[in-house]
Amino acid sequence: MQYLKNVVTLKLNSDLCSGCGLCAIVCPHAVFEIKNGKAHILDIDDCMECGACALNCKFGAISVKSGVGCAAGILNGILNGTEPSCDCSKENKTSCCG
């Protein structure tokens, strides 16, 4: 299953990439592939912006505006004037982030 097209903020700077492959390991949607010593994005629309790749890229080659894609959380954020927040711990909801 794939979500909306052409919307995610994931960016890869090949010049900084060392080809270590950690992005491909941590990505839960197999967005990256290592070929010829560099990471490549296979299908960017598979990305869910979890941010694992960018957080684990020692070389700063990946950037993504990460967050939880959760409508209730975004609504909470708008209503409270804060950043999107699921608050699963407060509401005892296990569902908000899977």
């Binding site: 941010g51 990460s66 959760c70 899977g98």
Partner: protein
């Protein structure tokens, strides 16, 4: 339990746990202190000798905690130092669940503790084969899926989520059913009030049960449209059972689509593949769409009672 009942009893005390008879050469697994995660992990480690480092994620599961920061670099570093892991094991590796990677930066943990983070598979059931294969995961072990069985598990939680709002809408429409050119007729309310209640309940089920359960079936990517689709389907289905005047049916159809669309949009939070940017983009048109459909539906419903 998933619904929050007895949640407090489902926290594992943070600390270092033994599985089998681990020694200074054994592997160290890091886990959230959500009891379901911890128990599943333990069950899948039979015949292995392993340390489990349980960190305090406030009883929240790995992925959720990683997203919120409690299963994060700082917490992992703190736990390693606090428990003096460097004195307990001689190796300098820790195995973390892959889904903690959105909270834990492996190279920062290494810098701060000397321990190298190895990201294990997503599912606890694959841990054993991962270790036996020399800390190698197959591509399948690294991919999050969202099969019908997993989606079905999340439905009970969402069913309770908006129960008061939906009851309020049902009561309001039940009352409105008694509206008449002559004022308000109690007998009319009793006679015709059930129809809108059935519709709204149907729309709620369509948005929360049908749309998530048959998620890939609806021909749209946006969750709000998937919900709208199932809202339309349920309206048609209900009309096949109860023949009602066209205007009333149309009004309830609009309301159904609005409600089901909103409910399914909220399922984005439970899904495992929606992005923040995508949900924001969707909501920009979906919220006005849902509000205008619902308001128009309710106005038309009132008109249908007065003409």
């Amino acid at each position: 339990m998933r619904m929050g009942i007895g949640r407090d009893n489902y926290i594992v005390t943070p600390g270092l746990y033994k599985v089998g008879n681990p020694d200074k050469h054994s592997d160290v697994l890091v886990s959230a202190n959500y009891k379901l995660s911890f128990d599943t992990l333990r069950k899948n480690l039979d015949s292995l000798n392993i340390w489990i480092l349980v960190i305090d994620t406030k009883g929240v599961n790995v992925w959720c905690a990683a997203g919120k920061g409690s299963f994060g670099t700082d917490n992992v570093v703190k736990s390693i130092k606090k428990l003096s892991l460097n004195l307990i094991v001689e190796n300098r590796n820790i195995i973390l669940p892959q889904l903690s990677a959105s909270g834990v930066s492996a190279y920062k943990v290494k810098e701060q503790t000397g321990f190298k983070t190895i990201f294990g598979p997503i599912q606890a059931k694959d841990i054993k084969s991962f270790i036996e294969a020399g800390y190698k995961a197959t591509p399948k072990m690294r991919k999050v899926t969202f099969p019908m069985k997993e989606r079905a598990k999340l439905i009970p939680v969402d069913l309770l989520y908006s129960k008061y709002k939906i009851l309020a809408i049902m009561c309001t429409l039940f009352l409105f059913s008694g509206l008449d050119r002559t004022g308000f007729l109690f007998s009319k309310m009793i006679d015709t009030g059930l129809f809108p209640v059935i519709n709204v309940f149907g729309a709620y089920i369509a948005g929360i049960v049908f749309a998530p359960l048959f998620l890939p079936w609806a021909p749209f990517r946006a969750f709000a449209l998937k919900g709208a689709f199932w809202g339309l389907v349920i309206t048609v289905a209900i009309n096949l059972l109860f023949k009602e005047p066209l205007l009333e049916l149309t009004s309830l159809g609009l309301l159904n689509i609005g409600i089901a669309s909103f409910m399914t949009m909220n399922f984005t939070g439970s899904s495992t593949y929606t992005s923040l940017s995508g949900v924001k983009k969707e909501m920009k048109w979906a919220i006005p769409f849902q509000i205008s459909l619902s308001v128009t539906g309710i106005i038309l419903f009132i008109i249908s009672k007065l003409v």
